[in-house]
Symmetry: C2
Subunit: 359 residues, 2 copies
């Protein structure tokens, strides 16, 4: 987020890490830019008391209080219940734009197409950034992602909300700390808010979804020092609601390796409640879906163990490693070193496209 | 197409069955409603002399000549080169709308959002039907397609343009001829033009693509006499440009059986030129992609043998049947009876969703 002084709008919901996914993502991965969180319910507390993140960042009661800290940007950090825009938020956003702030939104509602917001921005010099707004010039994919020289990694999951964004960010952080230039390609609103760029691939016409993934890889590779490009995955092949988006990302970004992400406590898929198959079944499925386009492997498993005792976490990590025969770690709890090592095993090697079936 | 007297616009391209896919589809599957084809290059000939289809249907020079036959509908039957709308066509469409015709378009350009066309329609009482325009109230999928009592069949392919629409229509025709009420769900512009309803799933936000497939199945099942619902597939799992759309159709429509469609002469995938794997590899891949959501089988192969001598066609059909262990036929050349028989083998049985992995 480029260190622009930022306030996060988390009104009425800052305790809820699900509703406030974007707020928590920013506090975890871009805390240096955050100067306040707005939530009247928790006003006066420290961010870390409420969320466990952002030590030293104050929670304030409203936008007026936040404006005293001289922010340049307001990020909507909470998904409003029901998907609509509450009336009192509308006033906040109008005020922020009138005060010249950049307002960053991941809502399905495109603020830049709303006359009240565009008028406020025109009056005050504010700027609207709609994270979900698709670029106008998207194209269908055409295997161009194969041309980049950096190794491309895609995080895939056993379900939605399985740690794909977090795992991607942790791998990028670990690589950069080791001096390996790594780029993160955000594909969902939170990932895009954290990285400051990306495409919300679930908000793209289905014909262009793979093309959007391809474009992200090519844009990341424009930095010629990049040796590793990590694409944030979405959905899961076993999540029927979003599986098409998942496969579009796989065949558009043409990864050289996959990292499988899983929440250790999950037993049924979200939304449709199908039983969640064992990890090795997911691995078979992901590798099969790549085999006839670009045969690549799942190189490691990222196991999110949040909510487990540390000893339990270590035990399920060991069990999962035995089951899959792969390196397994919880990158949030224990760092992403094990995952990066598994990728470096190949010396960041590019993999070829499918070249036919041998008999 | 409900037997509304229809002229097809195929100006300058009626010999080209690729460019005029919609024209050929209508002439093959809904000829009773077609009263003329417009193409100045072939004016004065019989449709069947140019296309091999539509015996007795005249090709006329322009819209004025067509209007003398008193049409109620004009269908754009040719994809304009470059994707844009040629200036002379614009005049045609305006005139048709001014004369009170229904104008049916599968162009990416949405005619109903163009002021010149909406004004012409308002003046003359014409109606614009944009086949590619998505319904406003699409939702994400949620496995509701599993609730229909009819057997659902999805055609899948080894590539784009592999005979999925044709195969679907031939199966539906064969079933209806045998007294089994069957419904066709169109998912592309030509299929929708033929059926008179459907959703162009490649023109839907990727989040809603599976939901669009689900909706089509539920709409088809609203006819309680329907025992068989055939969903027109799109793309292919091995066609990286469109594979996400393919998987969305699979997991949204939740078929009880798959029919694999293949062009016998194809050796490389369209657009990206990857080598085309053997049929049995495609079957493995399709069944694997269904296994952890709803484990179903490919029941037969539709092999399009156009361009082959009949003896060669019979030989490749036999070879493909030996390779796959499945019934194989070219439904255009030899009828869809073999395919329908393979489906009836199961007595139109519903298949259950994935219920966990056994060890």
């Amino acid at each position: 987020m480029n260190n622009i002084p930022t306030v996060i709008l988390a009104e009425g919901a800052f305790e809820d890490d699900g509703l406030c996914k974007t707020a928590y993502g920013l506090l975890r991965y871009a805390p240096e830019s955050i100067i306040a969180v707005i939530d009247s319910k928790n006003s006066g507390r420290d961010s870390s008391e409420v969320s466990g993140l952002g030590h030293g960042i104050p929670v304030v009661a409203d936008l007026d209080a936040a404006l005293k800290l001289n922010p340049k940007r307001l990020v909507i950090g909470v998904a409003p219940a029901g998907g609509g825009l509450p009336a009192e938020w509308r006033k906040y956003l109008v005020l922020a734009l009138e005060k010249g702030l950049e307002v960053v939104s991941g809502l399905h509602l495109i603020l830049g197409e709303d006359k009240e917001f565009t008028a406020a921005a025109a009056r005050g010099g504010g700027r609207i950034v709609d994270l979900r707004k698709e670029p106008a010039d998207l194209q269908v994919a055409s295997c161009r992602a194969q041309q980049v020289s950096a190794m491309v990694v895609l995080t895939v999951g056993t379900d939605c909300n399985a740690g794909k964004m977090t795992t991607s960010l942790e791998i990028v952080r670990e690589a950069n700390e080791r001096g390996i230039t790594a780029k993160f390609c955000g594909t969902g609103q939170t990932g895009i808010a954290i990285a400051g760029w990306g495409i919300a691939v679930d908000h793209v016409l289905s014909d262009f979804t793979a093309g959007a993934a391809e474009r992200l890889v090519l844009e990341a590779a424009a930095d010629k020092t990049a040796r590793l490009i990590v694409v944030e995955g979405q959905g899961a092949l076993t999540q029927p609601v979003y599986s098409g988006v998942t496969l579009s990302l796989m065949h558009g970004s043409l990864p050289d390796a996959l990292i499988l992400c899983h929440r250790a406590t999950r037993r049924f898929t979200e939304i449709v409640n199908l039983p969640l198959p064992p990890l090795k079944e997911h691995i078979i499925q992901y590798e099969e879906a790549m085999r006839l386009v670009k045969p690549v492997k799942v190189k490691a498993v990222s196991l999110i163990t949040r909510g487990m005792e540390e000893s339990t976490a270590r035990r399920v990590i060991d069990e999962s490693s035995r089951e899959t025969g792969l390196p397994v770690i919880d990158p949030v709890r224990f760092g992403a070193g094990v995952l990066l090592d598994a990728l470096l095993d190949d010396s960041l090697k590019k993999q070829p496209l499918y070249s036919g079936t041998k008999y």
